[in-house]
Amino acid sequence: MPDAPPHRLAPPAAWLAIGAFTVFTGGCELRERDPPHAAADAAQVQRGQRLLAQYQCGSCHSIPEVASARGHVGPPLAAFGRRSYIAGHLPNRPDTLARWIAEPAALVPDTTMPSMGVSAGDARDIAAYLMTLE
Protein backbone atom coordinates (compact mmCIF):
# COMPACT_ATOMS: atom_id res chain seq x y z
CA MET A 1 0.00 0.00 0.00
CA PRO A 2 1.51 3.33 -1.00
CA ASP A 3 1.98 5.99 1.61
CA ALA A 4 -0.97 8.33 1.95
CA PRO A 5 -0.18 11.87 0.79
CA PRO A 6 0.19 14.28 3.72
CA HIS A 7 -3.24 15.81 4.44
CA ARG A 8 -2.49 17.91 7.48
CA LEU A 9 -2.98 21.63 7.15
CA ALA A 10 -0.39 23.89 8.58
CA PRO A 11 -1.64 24.91 12.05
CA PRO A 12 -2.38 28.58 11.18
CA ALA A 13 -4.52 27.53 8.17
CA ALA A 14 -6.42 24.99 10.28
CA TRP A 15 -7.22 27.56 12.93
CA LEU A 16 -8.34 29.98 10.24
CA ALA A 17 -10.72 27.35 8.81
CA ILE A 18 -12.18 26.53 12.21
CA GLY A 19 -12.55 30.21 13.00
CA ALA A 20 -14.27 30.94 9.68
CA PHE A 21 -16.66 27.99 10.16
CA THR A 22 -17.58 29.17 13.66
CA VAL A 23 -18.19 32.72 12.50
CA PHE A 24 -20.19 31.51 9.48
CA THR A 25 -22.48 29.11 11.32
CA GLY A 26 -22.82 31.47 14.26
CA GLY A 27 -23.74 34.28 11.93
CA CYS A 28 -26.49 32.62 10.01
CA GLU A 29 -28.04 30.13 12.35
CA LEU A 30 -27.25 30.11 16.04
CA ARG A 31 -27.33 33.85 16.63
CA GLU A 32 -30.83 34.21 15.15
CA ARG A 33 -32.21 31.16 16.88
CA ASP A 34 -30.93 31.56 20.38
CA PRO A 35 -32.29 34.92 21.54
CA PRO A 36 -36.02 34.33 20.78
CA HIS A 37 -35.80 31.14 22.77
CA ALA A 38 -34.44 32.97 25.72
CA ALA A 39 -36.34 36.20 25.09
CA ALA A 40 -39.85 34.74 25.06
CA ASP A 41 -41.20 35.54 28.48
CA ALA A 42 -43.26 33.08 30.46
CA ALA A 43 -46.47 35.09 30.06
CA GLN A 44 -46.17 35.06 26.26
CA VAL A 45 -45.48 31.33 26.23
CA GLN A 46 -48.50 30.69 28.42
CA ARG A 47 -50.66 32.90 26.22
CA GLY A 48 -49.42 30.94 23.20
CA GLN A 49 -50.40 27.64 24.76
CA ARG A 50 -53.89 28.96 25.54
CA LEU A 51 -54.33 30.39 22.02
CA LEU A 52 -53.28 27.09 20.51
CA ALA A 53 -56.31 25.47 22.12
CA GLN A 54 -58.54 28.42 21.19
CA TYR A 55 -57.69 28.22 17.48
CA GLN A 56 -58.31 24.46 17.54
CA CYS A 57 -54.84 23.57 16.28
CA GLY A 58 -55.31 20.31 18.19
CA SER A 59 -57.99 19.00 15.87
CA CYS A 60 -55.21 18.25 13.36
CA HIS A 61 -52.00 18.29 15.46
CA SER A 62 -51.06 16.31 18.53
CA ILE A 63 -49.09 18.20 21.20
CA PRO A 64 -48.05 16.19 24.27
CA GLU A 65 -48.45 19.15 26.67
CA VAL A 66 -51.92 20.14 25.42
CA ALA A 67 -54.66 17.76 26.51
CA SER A 68 -57.11 18.72 23.76
CA ALA A 69 -54.50 18.36 20.98
CA ARG A 70 -54.80 14.78 19.82
CA GLY A 71 -55.39 15.12 16.07
CA HIS A 72 -53.53 13.02 13.52
CA VAL A 73 -54.43 14.76 10.28
CA GLY A 74 -51.33 16.99 10.43
CA PRO A 75 -47.86 16.21 11.76
CA PRO A 76 -47.35 15.94 15.55
CA LEU A 77 -45.77 19.04 17.10
CA ALA A 78 -43.79 17.31 19.87
CA ALA A 79 -40.30 18.80 20.34
CA PHE A 80 -41.07 21.48 17.79
CA GLY A 81 -38.38 23.79 19.20
CA ARG A 82 -35.75 21.29 18.11
CA ARG A 83 -36.96 21.01 14.53
CA SER A 84 -34.88 22.42 11.71
CA TYR A 85 -37.76 22.91 9.28
CA ILE A 86 -41.37 24.00 9.11
CA ALA A 87 -43.49 22.13 6.53
CA GLY A 88 -40.43 20.22 5.39
CA HIS A 89 -38.41 23.11 3.98
CA LEU A 90 -38.85 26.50 5.67
CA PRO A 91 -36.18 27.25 8.29
CA ASN A 92 -37.73 26.97 11.74
CA ARG A 93 -37.31 30.47 13.16
CA PRO A 94 -39.84 32.27 15.36
CA ASP A 95 -40.64 34.98 12.80
CA THR A 96 -41.08 32.47 9.97
CA LEU A 97 -43.12 30.19 12.22
CA ALA A 98 -45.42 33.08 13.18
CA ARG A 99 -46.00 33.94 9.50
CA TRP A 100 -46.60 30.28 8.74
CA ILE A 101 -49.23 29.96 11.50
CA ALA A 102 -51.05 33.10 10.36
CA GLU A 103 -51.07 32.38 6.61
CA PRO A 104 -49.64 28.97 5.64
CA ALA A 105 -50.55 29.26 1.96
CA ALA A 106 -48.55 32.49 1.65
CA LEU A 107 -45.35 30.53 2.32
CA VAL A 108 -46.25 27.14 0.78
CA PRO A 109 -49.03 27.64 -1.79
CA ASP A 110 -50.09 23.99 -2.07
CA THR A 111 -50.08 23.22 1.64
CA THR A 112 -53.04 21.39 3.13
CA MET A 113 -52.80 23.46 6.33
CA PRO A 114 -55.63 26.00 6.42
CA SER A 115 -55.43 29.54 7.71
CA MET A 116 -57.40 29.50 10.96
CA GLY A 117 -57.73 33.27 11.15
CA VAL A 118 -54.89 33.76 13.64
CA SER A 119 -53.86 37.41 14.07
CA ALA A 120 -50.19 38.35 13.71
CA GLY A 121 -49.81 38.98 17.44
CA ASP A 122 -51.48 35.71 18.41
CA ALA A 123 -49.32 33.87 15.87
CA ARG A 124 -46.17 35.30 17.53
CA ASP A 125 -47.38 34.04 20.91
CA ILE A 126 -48.17 30.57 19.55
CA ALA A 127 -44.76 30.46 17.82
CA ALA A 128 -43.08 31.45 21.10
CA TYR A 129 -44.85 28.57 22.84
CA LEU A 130 -43.97 26.03 20.12
CA MET A 131 -40.32 27.12 20.29
CA THR A 132 -40.19 26.05 23.94
CA LEU A 133 -41.16 22.45 23.08
CA GLU A 134 -37.93 20.55 23.52
Binding site: G71, V73, P114
Partner: protein, 316 residues
Protein backbone atom coordinates in the same frame (compact mmCIF):
# COMPACT_ATOMS: atom_id res chain seq x y z
CA UNK B 1 -82.57 2.58 -6.97
CA UNK B 2 -82.44 -0.54 -9.13
CA UNK B 3 -79.70 -3.07 -8.67
CA UNK B 4 -77.82 -1.97 -11.76
CA UNK B 5 -77.66 1.63 -10.58
CA UNK B 6 -74.49 2.76 -8.90
CA UNK B 7 -72.79 -0.32 -10.24
CA UNK B 8 -69.18 -0.40 -11.28
CA UNK B 9 -68.83 -2.95 -14.05
CA UNK B 10 -67.28 -2.80 -17.50
CA UNK B 11 -69.73 -5.59 -18.44
CA UNK B 12 -72.67 -3.15 -18.09
CA UNK B 13 -71.79 -0.75 -20.88
CA UNK B 14 -73.86 2.43 -20.94
CA UNK B 15 -72.15 4.39 -23.71
CA UNK B 16 -70.41 3.99 -27.07
CA UNK B 17 -66.86 3.92 -25.66
CA UNK B 18 -67.65 1.25 -23.07
CA UNK B 19 -69.62 -0.73 -25.68
CA UNK B 20 -66.67 -0.67 -28.09
CA UNK B 21 -64.31 -1.83 -25.36
CA UNK B 22 -66.76 -4.54 -24.29
CA UNK B 23 -67.13 -5.70 -27.91
CA UNK B 24 -63.37 -6.00 -28.36
CA UNK B 25 -63.05 -7.78 -25.00
CA UNK B 26 -65.78 -10.32 -25.81
CA UNK B 27 -64.30 -11.01 -29.25
CA UNK B 28 -60.84 -11.56 -27.75
CA UNK B 29 -62.08 -13.85 -24.95
CA UNK B 30 -64.42 -15.90 -27.16
CA UNK B 31 -61.90 -16.05 -30.02
CA UNK B 32 -59.09 -17.13 -27.71
CA UNK B 33 -61.36 -19.79 -26.17
CA UNK B 34 -62.29 -21.20 -29.60
CA UNK B 35 -58.63 -21.32 -30.69
CA UNK B 36 -57.62 -22.94 -27.39
CA UNK B 37 -60.31 -25.65 -27.68
CA UNK B 38 -59.35 -26.29 -31.32
CA UNK B 39 -55.69 -26.73 -30.32
CA UNK B 40 -56.65 -29.18 -27.56
CA UNK B 41 -58.73 -31.21 -30.03
CA UNK B 42 -55.79 -31.32 -32.45
CA UNK B 43 -53.49 -32.37 -29.61
CA UNK B 44 -55.85 -35.19 -28.57
CA UNK B 45 -56.09 -36.41 -32.18
CA UNK B 46 -52.31 -36.34 -32.54
CA UNK B 47 -51.85 -38.38 -29.36
CA UNK B 48 -54.49 -40.98 -30.36
CA UNK B 49 -53.26 -41.51 -33.91
CA UNK B 50 -50.04 -43.48 -33.68
CA UNK B 51 -49.55 -44.29 -37.38
CA UNK B 52 -49.72 -42.39 -40.64
CA UNK B 53 -48.14 -39.13 -41.65
CA UNK B 54 -49.40 -35.57 -41.73
CA UNK B 55 -48.36 -32.93 -44.23
CA UNK B 56 -45.84 -31.11 -42.02
CA UNK B 57 -45.25 -28.27 -44.45
CA UNK B 58 -48.95 -27.49 -44.68
CA UNK B 59 -49.38 -27.44 -40.88
CA UNK B 60 -46.27 -25.33 -40.21
CA UNK B 61 -46.94 -22.76 -42.94
CA UNK B 62 -50.72 -22.85 -42.62
CA UNK B 63 -51.10 -23.12 -38.82
CA UNK B 64 -47.89 -21.38 -37.77
CA UNK B 65 -47.70 -18.47 -40.23
CA UNK B 66 -50.83 -17.98 -42.33
CA UNK B 67 -53.42 -18.48 -39.57
CA UNK B 68 -51.82 -16.04 -37.03
CA UNK B 69 -51.18 -13.44 -39.73
CA UNK B 70 -54.81 -13.56 -40.89
CA UNK B 71 -56.28 -13.59 -37.34
CA UNK B 72 -54.02 -10.85 -35.95
CA UNK B 73 -54.44 -8.63 -39.04
CA UNK B 74 -58.20 -9.02 -38.77
CA UNK B 75 -58.09 -8.17 -35.05
CA UNK B 76 -55.90 -5.15 -35.74
CA UNK B 77 -58.33 -3.75 -38.31
CA UNK B 78 -61.31 -4.53 -36.04
CA UNK B 79 -59.79 -2.86 -32.97
CA UNK B 80 -58.65 0.19 -34.94
CA UNK B 81 -62.18 0.48 -36.33
CA UNK B 82 -63.66 0.27 -32.82
CA UNK B 83 -61.13 2.46 -31.10
CA UNK B 84 -62.73 5.13 -28.93
CA UNK B 85 -62.22 8.66 -30.22
CA UNK B 86 -59.02 9.87 -28.52
CA UNK B 87 -59.27 13.44 -29.72
CA UNK B 88 -57.00 16.38 -29.13
CA UNK B 89 -59.88 18.82 -29.45
CA UNK B 90 -63.49 18.40 -28.33
CA UNK B 91 -66.29 18.16 -30.90
CA UNK B 92 -68.40 21.32 -31.20
CA UNK B 93 -71.42 20.03 -29.31
CA UNK B 94 -69.44 18.45 -26.47
CA UNK B 95 -69.90 19.33 -22.82
CA UNK B 96 -66.50 20.17 -21.36
CA UNK B 97 -65.86 19.14 -17.76
CA UNK B 98 -62.67 19.59 -15.74
CA UNK B 99 -61.86 16.98 -13.12
CA UNK B 100 -58.98 17.45 -10.69
CA UNK B 101 -58.10 14.49 -8.49
CA UNK B 102 -56.91 15.11 -4.94
CA UNK B 103 -56.03 12.84 -2.07
CA UNK B 104 -58.76 11.42 -1.84
CA UNK B 105 -61.58 13.17 -3.62
CA UNK B 106 -62.53 14.73 -6.95
CA UNK B 107 -62.99 18.39 -7.80
CA UNK B 108 -65.36 18.81 -10.75
CA UNK B 109 -65.62 22.02 -12.81
CA UNK B 110 -68.27 23.05 -15.32
CA UNK B 111 -68.79 26.27 -17.20
CA UNK B 112 -72.17 27.91 -16.84
CA UNK B 113 -73.44 28.39 -20.45
CA UNK B 114 -75.39 31.53 -19.43
CA UNK B 115 -72.82 33.54 -17.49
CA UNK B 116 -69.61 31.79 -18.56
CA UNK B 117 -68.70 31.50 -14.89
CA UNK B 118 -66.95 28.45 -13.54
CA UNK B 119 -69.13 26.14 -11.47
CA UNK B 120 -67.19 24.05 -8.97
CA UNK B 121 -68.61 20.96 -7.34
CA UNK B 122 -67.12 17.75 -5.98
CA UNK B 123 -67.27 13.96 -5.98
CA UNK B 124 -70.17 13.65 -8.39
CA UNK B 125 -70.37 13.96 -12.15
CA UNK B 126 -73.65 14.92 -13.76
CA UNK B 127 -73.80 14.53 -17.51
CA UNK B 128 -76.55 14.81 -20.12
CA UNK B 129 -77.61 11.68 -21.97
CA UNK B 130 -76.65 11.40 -25.64
CA UNK B 131 -74.14 14.24 -25.71
CA UNK B 132 -70.37 13.72 -25.86
CA UNK B 133 -68.57 14.80 -22.70
CA UNK B 134 -64.99 15.93 -23.08
CA UNK B 135 -62.98 15.65 -19.87
CA UNK B 136 -59.88 17.63 -18.97
CA UNK B 137 -58.22 15.49 -16.31
CA UNK B 138 -55.47 16.55 -13.94
CA UNK B 139 -54.21 16.01 -10.42
CA UNK B 140 -53.25 18.39 -7.63
CA UNK B 141 -50.96 16.00 -5.77
CA UNK B 142 -50.04 12.46 -6.85
CA UNK B 143 -50.93 10.36 -9.91
CA UNK B 144 -54.55 9.23 -9.88
CA UNK B 145 -56.59 7.56 -12.63
CA UNK B 146 -60.07 8.33 -13.89
CA UNK B 147 -62.20 5.26 -14.50
CA UNK B 148 -65.94 4.88 -14.89
CA UNK B 149 -66.16 1.28 -16.17
CA UNK B 150 -69.74 1.58 -17.47
CA UNK B 151 -68.79 4.57 -19.64
CA UNK B 152 -65.21 3.71 -20.60
CA UNK B 153 -61.69 4.88 -19.85
CA UNK B 154 -59.43 4.72 -17.98
CA UNK B 155 -57.06 7.69 -18.10
CA UNK B 156 -54.22 8.63 -15.78
CA UNK B 157 -54.43 11.98 -13.99
CA UNK B 158 -50.93 13.36 -13.74
CA UNK B 159 -49.90 16.44 -11.72
CA UNK B 160 -48.87 19.31 -13.99
CA UNK B 161 -50.58 17.86 -17.07
CA UNK B 162 -54.08 17.92 -18.50
CA UNK B 163 -55.11 14.63 -20.10
CA UNK B 164 -58.21 14.27 -22.21
CA UNK B 165 -60.91 11.66 -22.44
CA UNK B 166 -64.19 11.71 -24.32
CA UNK B 167 -67.11 9.67 -23.03
CA UNK B 168 -70.84 9.55 -23.54
CA UNK B 169 -73.81 8.04 -21.71
CA UNK B 170 -76.60 6.63 -23.87
CA UNK B 171 -79.15 6.10 -21.10
CA UNK B 172 -80.24 7.62 -17.82
CA UNK B 173 -78.56 6.04 -14.82
CA UNK B 174 -76.07 6.18 -11.98
CA UNK B 175 -72.68 4.50 -12.21
CA UNK B 176 -69.78 4.31 -9.83
CA UNK B 177 -66.35 5.43 -10.94
CA UNK B 178 -63.19 4.76 -9.01
CA UNK B 179 -59.62 6.01 -8.81
CA UNK B 180 -57.69 3.33 -10.68
CA UNK B 181 -54.12 4.22 -9.73
CA UNK B 182 -53.02 3.50 -6.17
CA UNK B 183 -52.71 6.93 -4.55
CA UNK B 184 -52.36 6.30 -0.83
CA UNK B 185 -54.26 5.33 2.28
CA UNK B 186 -57.79 6.08 1.05
CA UNK B 187 -57.39 5.09 -2.59
CA UNK B 188 -60.21 2.55 -2.16
CA UNK B 189 -62.64 5.21 -0.84
CA UNK B 190 -62.03 7.57 -3.73
CA UNK B 191 -65.18 6.99 -5.72
CA UNK B 192 -66.82 9.27 -8.26
CA UNK B 193 -70.48 8.64 -8.97
CA UNK B 194 -71.73 9.55 -12.42
CA UNK B 195 -75.36 10.59 -12.83
CA UNK B 196 -76.59 10.68 -16.44
CA UNK B 197 -79.82 12.63 -16.94
CA UNK B 198 -82.04 13.93 -19.69
CA UNK B 199 -80.53 17.10 -21.19
CA UNK B 200 -83.34 19.30 -19.80
CA UNK B 201 -82.86 17.91 -16.27
CA UNK B 202 -79.11 18.39 -16.61
CA UNK B 203 -79.47 22.00 -17.77
CA UNK B 204 -81.72 22.78 -14.79
CA UNK B 205 -79.22 21.11 -12.46
CA UNK B 206 -76.29 23.11 -13.88
CA UNK B 207 -78.26 26.37 -13.59
CA UNK B 208 -79.01 25.54 -9.93
CA UNK B 209 -75.35 24.67 -9.26
CA UNK B 210 -74.26 27.99 -10.73
CA UNK B 211 -76.28 29.90 -8.15
CA UNK B 212 -74.68 30.75 -4.81
CA UNK B 213 -75.94 29.06 -1.66
CA UNK B 214 -79.22 30.24 -0.21
CA UNK B 215 -80.29 29.76 3.36
CA UNK B 216 -82.82 27.16 2.24
CA UNK B 217 -86.16 26.82 0.48
CA UNK B 218 -88.78 29.46 1.16
CA UNK B 219 -90.33 29.04 4.60
CA UNK B 220 -87.36 27.09 5.88
CA UNK B 221 -85.49 30.21 6.89
CA UNK B 222 -85.65 29.18 10.51
CA UNK B 223 -83.37 29.46 13.51
CA UNK B 224 -81.70 26.05 13.04
CA UNK B 225 -80.50 26.92 9.55
CA UNK B 226 -79.17 30.29 10.69
CA UNK B 227 -77.46 28.66 13.65
CA UNK B 228 -75.99 26.02 11.35
CA UNK B 229 -74.51 28.65 9.07
CA UNK B 230 -73.11 30.63 11.99
CA UNK B 231 -71.64 27.50 13.61
CA UNK B 232 -70.08 26.51 10.26
CA UNK B 233 -68.23 29.84 10.24
CA UNK B 234 -67.49 29.92 13.98
CA UNK B 235 -65.83 26.49 13.85
CA UNK B 236 -63.78 27.58 10.85
CA UNK B 237 -65.13 24.89 8.52
CA UNK B 238 -64.70 27.65 5.91
CA UNK B 239 -60.91 27.56 6.42
CA UNK B 240 -60.99 24.61 4.01
CA UNK B 241 -64.47 24.53 2.44
CA UNK B 242 -66.00 27.10 0.12
CA UNK B 243 -69.74 27.75 0.23
CA UNK B 244 -70.34 30.28 -2.53
CA UNK B 245 -72.34 33.20 -1.21
CA UNK B 246 -71.32 32.48 2.38
CA UNK B 247 -67.55 32.14 2.46
CA UNK B 248 -65.04 31.79 -0.36
CA UNK B 249 -61.81 31.81 1.57
CA UNK B 250 -60.07 28.65 0.36
CA UNK B 251 -60.83 25.39 -1.41
CA UNK B 252 -58.58 22.90 0.35
CA UNK B 253 -61.56 20.57 0.68
CA UNK B 254 -64.62 19.93 -1.48
CA UNK B 255 -66.83 22.89 -2.43
CA UNK B 256 -69.99 22.58 -0.31
CA UNK B 257 -72.17 25.19 -2.06
CA UNK B 258 -74.76 22.54 -3.04
CA UNK B 259 -73.58 19.60 -0.96
CA UNK B 260 -77.18 18.67 -0.09
CA UNK B 261 -77.84 17.79 -3.74
CA UNK B 262 -75.20 15.06 -3.87
CA UNK B 263 -75.78 11.33 -3.49
CA UNK B 264 -72.78 10.57 -1.29
CA UNK B 265 -70.35 12.10 1.20
CA UNK B 266 -66.59 11.70 1.41
CA UNK B 267 -66.13 10.62 -2.24
CA UNK B 268 -68.62 7.75 -2.06
CA UNK B 269 -67.82 6.80 1.55
CA UNK B 270 -71.34 7.17 2.98
CA UNK B 271 -74.77 8.00 1.47
CA UNK B 272 -75.81 11.63 1.91
CA UNK B 273 -78.39 12.82 4.45
CA UNK B 274 -78.63 15.04 7.55
CA UNK B 275 -77.80 12.21 9.99
CA UNK B 276 -74.91 10.97 7.86
CA UNK B 277 -73.60 14.53 7.47
CA UNK B 278 -73.51 14.97 11.25
CA UNK B 279 -71.80 11.59 11.64
CA UNK B 280 -69.31 12.47 8.92
CA UNK B 281 -68.31 15.80 10.54
CA UNK B 282 -68.09 14.20 14.00
CA UNK B 283 -66.26 10.99 13.04
CA UNK B 284 -64.42 11.73 9.80
CA UNK B 285 -61.31 9.85 10.84
CA UNK B 286 -63.29 6.76 11.87
CA UNK B 287 -65.23 6.72 8.59
CA UNK B 288 -62.26 7.53 6.35
CA UNK B 289 -59.02 7.19 8.33
CA UNK B 290 -56.25 9.40 6.99
CA UNK B 291 -58.58 11.81 5.17
CA UNK B 292 -57.34 15.40 5.26
CA UNK B 293 -60.25 16.43 7.48
CA UNK B 294 -60.17 16.09 11.27
CA UNK B 295 -62.95 14.49 13.31
CA UNK B 296 -64.82 17.30 15.03
CA UNK B 297 -67.13 15.38 17.37
CA UNK B 298 -65.15 16.41 20.44
CA UNK B 299 -64.82 20.11 19.71
CA UNK B 300 -68.26 20.91 18.28
CA UNK B 301 -71.15 20.47 20.68
CA UNK B 302 -74.07 18.33 19.60
CA UNK B 303 -76.58 21.14 19.02
CA UNK B 304 -74.12 23.00 16.75
CA UNK B 305 -73.25 19.77 14.97
CA UNK B 306 -76.90 18.99 14.22
CA UNK B 307 -77.48 22.58 13.09
CA UNK B 308 -74.46 22.45 10.73
CA UNK B 309 -75.68 19.13 9.28
CA UNK B 310 -79.22 20.47 8.83
CA UNK B 311 -77.96 23.61 7.12
CA UNK B 312 -75.58 21.73 4.80
CA UNK B 313 -78.37 19.29 3.87
CA UNK B 314 -80.48 22.28 2.86
CA UNK B 315 -77.83 23.47 0.41
CA UNK B 316 -79.34 21.87 -2.67
Amino acid sequence: MSKAEGSQSALRAAGPVAEALLGVSILLVVGAAIIFVAMMVLLALALRRRTGRVNEGWWVIGGGVAFPVIVLSGLYVYSEWNKPPWRVAPPRDALIVGVTARMWWWEVRYRDPRSGAEVVTANELRIPVGRPVYFGLSSADVIHSFWVPSLGGKMDMVPGRVQHLQLQADRVGVWRGQCAEFCGEQHARMALHVVAEDPAVFDAWLAAQARPATIGPAGADDATLRRGREAFLAHRCNACHTVRGVSEERSLGPDLTHVGSRLHLGAGTVPNGPAQLAAWVAHTQQLKPGARMPSSGERIDDADLQAIATWLSHLK
